[in-house]
Symmetry: C2
Amino acid sequence: MREAYHDQLGELAEQLADMCGMVSDAMERATKALLDTDLALAEQVISDDSKVDDARASVEENAYALLALQAPVATDLRTVLAVIHAAESVERMGDLALHVAKAARRRHPNPVLPDQVRPDFASMGRIAVELAREAREVIRTQDVDKARSLEQADDEMDDLHRHLFSVIMDKEWPHGVASAVDITLLGRFYERFADHAVSVAKRTVFVVTGKMPGYSEDEDI
Amino acid sequence: MREAYHDQLGELAEQLADMCGMVSDAMERATKALLDTDLALAEQVISDDSKVDDARASVEENAYALLALQAPVATDLRTVLAVIHAAESVERMGDLALHVAKAARRRHPNPVLPDQVRPDFASMGRIAVELAREAREVIRTQDVDKARSLEQADDEMDDLHRHLFSVIMDKEWPHGVASAVDITLLGRFYERFADHAVSVAKRTVFVVTGKMPGYSEDEDI
């Protein structure tokens, strides 16, 4: 019985890791759609989002079944609840990739981004994808040190996000308000995506160590 | 034993309802701070946010204890998990009120909002506060019809949010990029606050009816 339980718990973690892979692919494609003004790719991200939602529903159902049938306690209970929380975060990461893809579609055939900020978004996209992949590895390996290294990448994201604001807030910004508004929202989508990836990794650390690392949910902006 | 369990569950719901009251007060004060350029009020919202975080931690601990000691199944299990999810949403609502207060503080002694959009934010604030209070009532009364009426208020919020974009995106917008960026983010904070209030009410409906009402987590923008 306990062995069957641990098998089920392992499957649940694997489902969650797969979800992280799905949203990292989604963010990779959404960023490419944004940078290359690629409508087909944007459409693909948009239609694929329901797969992430389905995966989350499945994780949640399996977690509920595990709770109802096995009534785990202590660490096992916390593990199952951590998976439920993390699945919610990963689904939200999928929504954020979807928002990026929708922004690319909304402005098509025009590019959303002026050349001036393209390198920033290329970097933010790279970091976001990397963070989601690292969260997947943390879930698979339960490597606590790796989880901590995510925070470094998240700091990099926050720096880029702040830099972006300084660029669009500059009096010399030549691309107008509409473009600044798009960039503001897009910047926030990437930054929130990164926050969620870090929170998924931290929940995994919590399950392994029993201690939740110091954690601020959201940046000031 | 079962009676003790239902008492505990009732207390848990009451704790969650109290959290809704806390964040609706926070959003009311944050909006007043924003509209009246009231630094002291903004500071109060900022320092009070930790109380919401503490309340959420307490809800979560009590829910864990309930799961571990009583091992509920079926509807009871779903109720406890719905409370855990809802507490996460309400904490996030508190964070969004905090962001509004921080925006007011950041620009002090200057007002964040040009006169042109003040009525929009007064309305968004009013709806946000009302939604959080209605979510509290839904939790207390488990009134399914009331839960549905939240969606109407949320539609109103979405309309205001869209209107706001049309105002700042207008070629004649005279207040510059920095102001448009502030308004973009603030608009999003109110809109997300409303989304979370609706999701809390819907989770309550789910517990009562066993069916999750049709639900889209987030608007396009």
